[in-house]
Symmetry: D2
Subunit: 488 residues, 4 copies
Amino acid sequence: MAQVDDTLPGEADDHFHDECGVFGIFGRQDAAAIVTLGLHALQHRGQEAAGIVSYDGSQFHVERHVGLIGDTFTKPRVIERLKGNRAIGHTRYATTGGSGLRNVQPLFAELADGGFAIAHNGNITNAMTVQRTLQKEGAIFSSTSDTETILHLVATSREKDFNARFIEAVRQLEGAFSLVALTSKKMIGCRDPLGIRPLVLGDLDGSYILASETCALDIIGARFVRDVQPGEMVIITAKGIESLFPFEPVKPRFCIFEYVYFARPDSTIEGRNVYDVRKRIGMELAIESPVDADIVVPVPDSGTPAAIGFAQQAGLPFELGIIRNHYVGRTFIQPSDSIRHMGVKLKHNANRRMIEGKRVVLVDDSIVRGTTSQKIVQMVREAGAREVHMRIASPPTRSSCFYGVDTPETAKLLASRMSIEEMADFIRVDSLGFLSIDGLYRAVGEAQRNMEQPQFCDACFSADYPTRLADFEGADNVRTLSLLASSQ
Amino acid sequence: MAQVDDTLPGEADDHFHDECGVFGIFGRQDAAAIVTLGLHALQHRGQEAAGIVSYDGSQFHVERHVGLIGDTFTKPRVIERLKGNRAIGHTRYATTGGSGLRNVQPLFAELADGGFAIAHNGNITNAMTVQRTLQKEGAIFSSTSDTETILHLVATSREKDFNARFIEAVRQLEGAFSLVALTSKKMIGCRDPLGIRPLVLGDLDGSYILASETCALDIIGARFVRDVQPGEMVIITAKGIESLFPFEPVKPRFCIFEYVYFARPDSTIEGRNVYDVRKRIGMELAIESPVDADIVVPVPDSGTPAAIGFAQQAGLPFELGIIRNHYVGRTFIQPSDSIRHMGVKLKHNANRRMIEGKRVVLVDDSIVRGTTSQKIVQMVREAGAREVHMRIASPPTRSSCFYGVDTPETAKLLASRMSIEEMADFIRVDSLGFLSIDGLYRAVGEAQRNMEQPQFCDACFSADYPTRLADFEGADNVRTLSLLASSQ
Amino acid sequence: MAQVDDTLPGEADDHFHDECGVFGIFGRQDAAAIVTLGLHALQHRGQEAAGIVSYDGSQFHVERHVGLIGDTFTKPRVIERLKGNRAIGHTRYATTGGSGLRNVQPLFAELADGGFAIAHNGNITNAMTVQRTLQKEGAIFSSTSDTETILHLVATSREKDFNARFIEAVRQLEGAFSLVALTSKKMIGCRDPLGIRPLVLGDLDGSYILASETCALDIIGARFVRDVQPGEMVIITAKGIESLFPFEPVKPRFCIFEYVYFARPDSTIEGRNVYDVRKRIGMELAIESPVDADIVVPVPDSGTPAAIGFAQQAGLPFELGIIRNHYVGRTFIQPSDSIRHMGVKLKHNANRRMIEGKRVVLVDDSIVRGTTSQKIVQMVREAGAREVHMRIASPPTRSSCFYGVDTPETAKLLASRMSIEEMADFIRVDSLGFLSIDGLYRAVGEAQRNMEQPQFCDACFSADYPTRLADFEGADNVRTLSLLASSQ
Amino acid sequence: MAQVDDTLPGEADDHFHDECGVFGIFGRQDAAAIVTLGLHALQHRGQEAAGIVSYDGSQFHVERHVGLIGDTFTKPRVIERLKGNRAIGHTRYATTGGSGLRNVQPLFAELADGGFAIAHNGNITNAMTVQRTLQKEGAIFSSTSDTETILHLVATSREKDFNARFIEAVRQLEGAFSLVALTSKKMIGCRDPLGIRPLVLGDLDGSYILASETCALDIIGARFVRDVQPGEMVIITAKGIESLFPFEPVKPRFCIFEYVYFARPDSTIEGRNVYDVRKRIGMELAIESPVDADIVVPVPDSGTPAAIGFAQQAGLPFELGIIRNHYVGRTFIQPSDSIRHMGVKLKHNANRRMIEGKRVVLVDDSIVRGTTSQKIVQMVREAGAREVHMRIASPPTRSSCFYGVDTPETAKLLASRMSIEEMADFIRVDSLGFLSIDGLYRAVGEAQRNMEQPQFCDACFSADYPTRLADFEGADNVRTLSLLASSQ
């Protein structure tokens, strides 16, 4: 998914954001109810809107709603409409201004041989390029989503067999894609050859499940079977599961930032527990950037596991020196000029009594624009900290992501225009330390980054993009859409 | 538009319903505000939902809302979003269960050479047939509307010039269509060769207007220029208006039921004032079916003009013997078992003091299922009428309409299964008279119906359909859609 | 009810408005469903909001909703909450800006001896005066409604017996009141000694009904028993009905404007059918103010019965020369500066073909501010009328009403500051005629107005107010409320 | 954040809940915007609804909304309506079934000498008793809130001076009350003689603030001045602050459970930092109930501070073995029979990799019904824990609270009907330990509980209620309200 916007003011939530989670189940009564629970467990991958498509043996049913799963899909009348024993769902981070439900997935189309629904986590980096070609042939796009490009590629394929049509379509795609698709006969899962985004296979009493993360298996008590492999296409039918590898084999490069921030700490991806990786990151950080301090304080909640690791490694007390207010609504507008710039205080408050007179190590997962860090440091100082040392559980983020992550343009990334010393000065800390790229690789269990053939996609740190970026090169760069906005 | 349902219980509103009104203006500041007013004047042609597309010189803007124009499009924030000096709009009668806003027009598509919006009054009788062909070539339909078929025909045309593509598209259509379309450069109006539905051309201080009826010109103080001709395509650009006749010429057959019921009484269509025609209908009826009675009472509001004509011709007093309650909401659910079947009483009440002891001529425009007539007669009898004579301002409606009118299937039409005597018995009147088909032709100013080449489409009375009905013949009859329902 | 505002721009609906309708039933299964239907039939007496209180033998249930009965109370979950076999309801015209549901009736209070609900049509002219006295004794008012004053008077009465407390309360009231009240044991109806507002008693299979008008009996098939008498209090219990006359007897003075405009034409009040009175008004008008003209055209819908009467008396054809659009929403905001002042065109359109070249008699029920009349005349002239003669079915309205009717302040009434000639000039008609006050009395069956002891309240024509106006005299005139506005 | 919403069925959030937070500011531009921020910081004290009353020098303005502050009061049009430089606000936990906005505070009344608004945290234990007396004198109650009783006591006081009337009123109250009130001239804060609920005084650039907790001062950058004293009444006017002690002096007994669970960890109450107390609780618990285990795991978020203290004291690693999903919506209905009883899994997931094969100490703040504990233990066992030892950061909760806390009836409290061994068995742990009452007193800095004169209210642990419970004794016990339910 390519389009995003900032629904919270940048300073209040200064993170990269993964944009989607996908979930599907085949051959289980109340399939849509199970998808609802799975999407709820994947809510951290997208809070803006969600959709579910089910198939009841003769008809497809589609529901799309803006808002949290727990507020929309749990209404009995919504679930009841989603009849059938197979269903796929999608939760998304954000839609472009005003475009509303049109871009909410799964997308559905009535093809010549029946209905076809598809949900996508990732971003197709040549979607616009392909779309323009399709439009010249008369294709009509009803959304601005890159996912619709996949739909049209399947629809216009001249292959006879459905699997062949699907394969012809995905072979034309570049970028990151973990797909879940549903037809009247089968559920398909497919991961791009690099396996940039996660996708796992689960089993609930004999019914197959596809999900972005293992935490979505846990919530329904399903068994984790295995990761879908990079470049793999799994086809699940009433007869069982089939596995194809339709792409040229390449060395996989999973997104290392999933470990740093995107994935839920209780998920296990490609054999590594996310919480455990984050603790190790904190430990590496304590080794690489030790501080003589009194307490280790996480910026909650994302900095907490690394702070625990840092404190254990450094032998310093771990303390909740910043308290998070979880009741921040989506639309907390600054209520008046005289009290603007509440910024982080809506979400965080320094626990003055814990901090006063202390030398504090603040641990956060990353620095994006730097504005939030600046305000948190100021808040901690005003609460009486004697020294403030910031430790960041990742290398400096210097480059935008084009693989389904909401990142500011490169120029807005603090690390793209400042040295570490300048950044320390900007956020006004006594010292600032980032984890090294090799430290990050060590935390995930590698000896170091293989500079020739990196084991992960780490483009946001290294600008080393593992694919072509067709839509973003040269004149193709500018997208001109006639349709500016639509409430529908 | 082919799909409809009964939003009010059949007995409470037992009429045929025209399903759409269209309106467009080109080259006038606040174009969308003017379209809003025009659609408000056309609200009787469709109360379910409406849409407007405007173009501001660089972008198209789309708004679609369920509900009355006066409740939705008059909100300042809605109108403000519809920037630009050209806009087209559409109001529709009803959508099939649950399909929501997807089918609300105008439809919009981003074609290879720019945006294209289209609004349609009528029904394409070969839409499914064409759609299946297009789907086989990979077209993806995002609605179940016949209008989308036109969109795809334009999109997939290989002609270079836009007008040529539009012409290639409409030449493939069968049925009734009065279209208004908008591109970044022009507004197009087009009426099918038979001219089944109305479409007029107006002028507001030099800006051209297209509208379903003249009453939509009156509300904005625009000048009536002329009817768009059957088979005519008018192209309005900044340079002026151009007229083409892209179809094989045939003898026109305007829908005579527009005069009987659909059009607003203050509209003038093809030179005839609707109220005046209805009064003449009442006069013809009084001549054909005289009654010895005390008072003439209309079934309000649709029977009123004919009742006035009847009373004048018969020399009987015209009296409001039935009072209509205009506050009936859309969702008046029968509140409990013990008081079900309120039926017509929610909308109509007999004025007992006017009726008691009288011989009453009741005048209504048509009988569809007969259930409402039955209840109104019963109500009038309970109010003390000595005799009840029903006179109907049209011939018996025996056949369904396939040209953009909501009609029950033929078997549910009372006149399709009963003689006039049986109908009189069924609705329990002392006498029942329908206008003859020739009487109706006389009321519109013809000497009689030309049996060889009827001057109008009167298929609902005669079953003489002026076009092929491709979608409704043979195996094509059954439409199988995978997508049953969608809240979006 | 004292507070009102203009919810539609004055020019679009320039009428006096009755502000309330009341309805109650005692001892009938599904009581609330029946009240819903009754209020629907009384919707013309108030469209802004409605409320119902029911009692199920152990608990009272209250529902209040803004909007039309048919849109709010017909929802199954609303009706289901209103359990019990007795219920009273109220529909109201308008609430003061922003005060929302607090002022919607029936009001309910938990008194020392049980629940008490009350609904009121009329206006207590000493409500503020009484309220200030009560507040000094510590009473807390939770609404700005005069009805709450009645509630407090009942609550603070020192009488032992409930009926005695109710009587003590109503004896302190001045002004117009037709009340329906409910306790756990009884339903009470009460009409002020002058009987200014209507209240009728009905019977549905042995269950007593109280309603503002007979049309509310018709809709449920109830039998009209009799009018509640001016100054009468009826007490309905499981044992039957009891009648008391707790006030000093005075000569009744029913509101004559109920016949002119407020009541529904199919209602019968104090023995007179409203439609019949209106036709007679038209006849009297034709006698008093004859015109040499071609057609008689009503300003729909309120001018229609008088126009029929006028046409019959004058021997002129009655024609629908103005067509009304019934789809006007509540919030039809003028969409932009360039097309402001649509005024009457949103609601009315001249039927040009009927009017062109004709000498037209326009018949309307009354002139309030005159702005609507002005625009309608202009519209009729622009449609080509050769002459326009306005005939008004009532005397000039020169004074505000203080008895539960929404009227502009006196200074805004056209007739309060212009002679008939000046008014004719202002609205630009060739001639203007009002019915004389004696003509109006003749239409309701009196020989003439008794100048000593007028038979009706006609204060809006005569400024002859039948009661003291305590709240509006001297310094008491200005009400100062601390609470400006509340969304709740 | 220790507090969670009780929007889920009891088993998913099995806690006591404080029911209200209050906040007021006097003499500061944009007062309502500041109150909005203050209430946002107090959101943990009540998530159901909130209200603000402001005074602009001539008028009071009231807004009440159901939902989170950040979703309702941050809308510009809401804040703009709340004009004035003084305002008070209230956030509440829950309203009784169906009673909607009527019970949302602040309550406002128009008294004889002007407007009066009041917001209340606590519970008046003789409110019904007083209410019945007032009703006998004719008072009409428009809510079922005990706060309205205070309003009526002030309104009916015969004292001349407002302060005297307020004092006469509060002297009649029994129970817990921390009040903030506003008149046109002053803001009043008042705490019951025992000081059961907190109330603090702050200062923002010279404007006085009253707030339930210090965290509400922090968010706006206000200075903490002091706690309002038990039994103190502070009167803030344009001239400054005045302090009165209108009650008989008694030994204070602050609610000790505020430290255990209700207050925010970053607040400081009566000199003690809440997070610090909770860590000490964990330390005392580790001393009193040591375990031979591998890791200490909090039940997030409320068990976290105590778990940190436990781990530090015990020298065991603190690990996030349970991950909390913060996206649980208000209405997460169990979507179907086949997957009912998701219970805690909607909110919590065991982090299997951290737990597998380990001996786990689970730390939670309290056990109420025990159902959640049971499910969390089961989840931790299914994740592979070798041993599960539960340590509870408070003594067993055996008695209901009558001082403004939502507690189940005594019989539903697990500790009221089981011994610790039975409870351990019920929740299926290898061992279960509660903190002793003296341990809890040590954690707050006392040597031990003074059995003669306890320093705190600890009735939920000891059944030693510090006040009379008039409404809950004898025949008064049963409240009989006629009004069952109201949507308004």
